[in-house]
Symmetry: C2
Subunit: 294 residues, 2 copies
């Protein structure tokens, strides 16, 4: 199967799994459940689920277990977008080409949507799964919680808040992104590996790859934010510059940001060498992250 | 040991455990960690931890494991207070006698405090604990996630939002409270029982008690809110009436609300009969919930 077909297949599986695992909008409280579905379904490139499945395929993980792992990471990602878009944070009105959750459902509901999506992620990842050892599953729950928390994604968001209007160094910017986006991207890859029963050494090796991919994703995001239009992105373009937020493009300039992306891409490919040909999907995904059209 | 001494001991243990498990304010991002500690430490009667320990003592649970279980529930409770107090929800400025988290640290930080406290709860409850079977631990994580989520506490909050200015029936009000406060109170008791290795039948029996206690707690809260002063409560008094929120007092009148509390107290005591004298702390806690000074 070529990469495009594989990717479309995973995106569809993820959409189906999210559709199944999110409470139906007919279940009370229906307004909240409708808003949770609005914020999560039919949106995004599902980069984290793709990474989770690609990493899991390295270790022969069950596809159904990867669906669950992928969905939990995507729920955490979706909750973070809902909260980040709120007026007290980025105050954004457009996301994935649609009005943001608080614009569509009101601020109070958006707050609860994010809260409940986070709980749902932990509920799903703590649902017993045939063939998955409970001791491994506990490790996966812990991994997700650390990635989402104050020393992961939420902490990165706090550093981002504190950095508005500040002149950061490249290493300070890297520190922020390792937390804000890197932690959850890394978690997606590692959950895939755990789902396939990877050993400690393999987890460490895959972690090196995931760290490169996390930064690469952010550098490319900054380049796209600076250069693409709002219509193409499906979210407000140029808002980092408008909000005076530090980005790789404004710290390094567009040309050096591209050089950095190329270097990270090479490092990511190199870090996969120990896995040989089994890592095909991860190689392809690395290139996709750089060359994605938007 | 008499009840007052036992209670003071558990409250101190809980404070110590929270102090240990919350990241230090010196750890980056320090502003976020300081705010998480502000929102959680030195506050509240710790009713949920008391219930968790009292239920655990029925089954001979390790005190250290009960500390962890109690802390996870208290972190979820603390996060819900931070988010509920925000301007887009209840817009309250006083909590536990101090300025609310968003007043002290700003709205964006308060949003992240709640998010990160929820993650921390799941991180702690998914930390391996000597003597606790992983399969039981997964069940505990799942229980906490369901209690916190859209069919538990967050869902109750959504129903509460939708009920402002509406004329609810007593059974609709009960449905709201079973979710909004009942789910987490029930969870506190059941986590204590799981920590002690309780069997399925015992869990079900304790669940009946916990359901009564959850409602009892809310009825008494409504009576206190209607009758006490802000200084005594440490939070804004009379705000339910001011915000036109349905309460047992304004649906039933103060006298019938008191009758309802007395009935629930009796039912709670009766539901403990199968446990005999081992349930002493749960009996005492039931009376404390009704007779607490504030």
């Amino acid at each position: 199967m070529n990469f495009a077909a594989w990717m479309a297949g995973i995106q569809q599986r993820t959409e189906d799994a999210l559709t199944t695992h999110l409470p139906a909008a007919t279940v009370a409280p229906s307004h909240l459940h409708a808003a949770m579905r609005y914020a999560t379904l039919e949106g995004g490139k599902r980069v984290r689920p793709l990474l989770c499945h690609a990493a899991g395929s390295l270790f022969g993980a069950h596809c159904e277990l990867l669906d669950v792992a992928a969905v939990t990471v995507e729920l955490i990602h979706a909750y973070s977008l809902v909260h980040d878009d709120m007026p007290c944070m980025d105050n954004d009105v457009l996301r994935r080409g649609k009005p943001t959750c608080h614009v569509e459902f009101g601020e109070a509901t958006a707050l609860l949507v994010g809260d409940a999506l986070q709980s749902l992620a932990f509920q799903l990842i703590a649902t017993p799964f045939s063939g998955l050892e409970p001791v491994r599953q506990i490790e996966m729950v812990n991994l997700l919680a650390v990635a989402a928390g104050s020393r992961g994604m939420a902490g990165g968001q706090a550093i981002d808040l504190a950095s508005v209007g500040e002149q950061l160094t490249v290493s300070e910017l890297e520190f922020m992104h390792i937390h804000k986006t890197g932690a959850l991207i890394r978690c997606a890859a590692l959950l895939g590996a755990h789902a396939g029963g990877a050993g400690p050494d393999e987890i460490i090796r895959l972690g090196h790859f995931a760290n490169r991919i996390g930064l690469l994703f952010q550098v490319v995001d900054d380049i796209l934010d600076a250069e693409a239009s709002t219509a193409t992105l499906g979210k407000t373009a140029g808002k980092d510059a408008a909000q005076n937020k530090p980005t790789y493009v404004n710290l390094l300039g567009a040309r050096d940001a591209r050089v950095m992306a190329a270097t990270l891409r090479d490092e990511a490919h190199n870090s996969l060498q120990p896995f040989g040909e089994r890592a095909q999907r991860l190689h392809e995904l690395t290139d996709y992250i750089v060359d994605r059209p938007f």
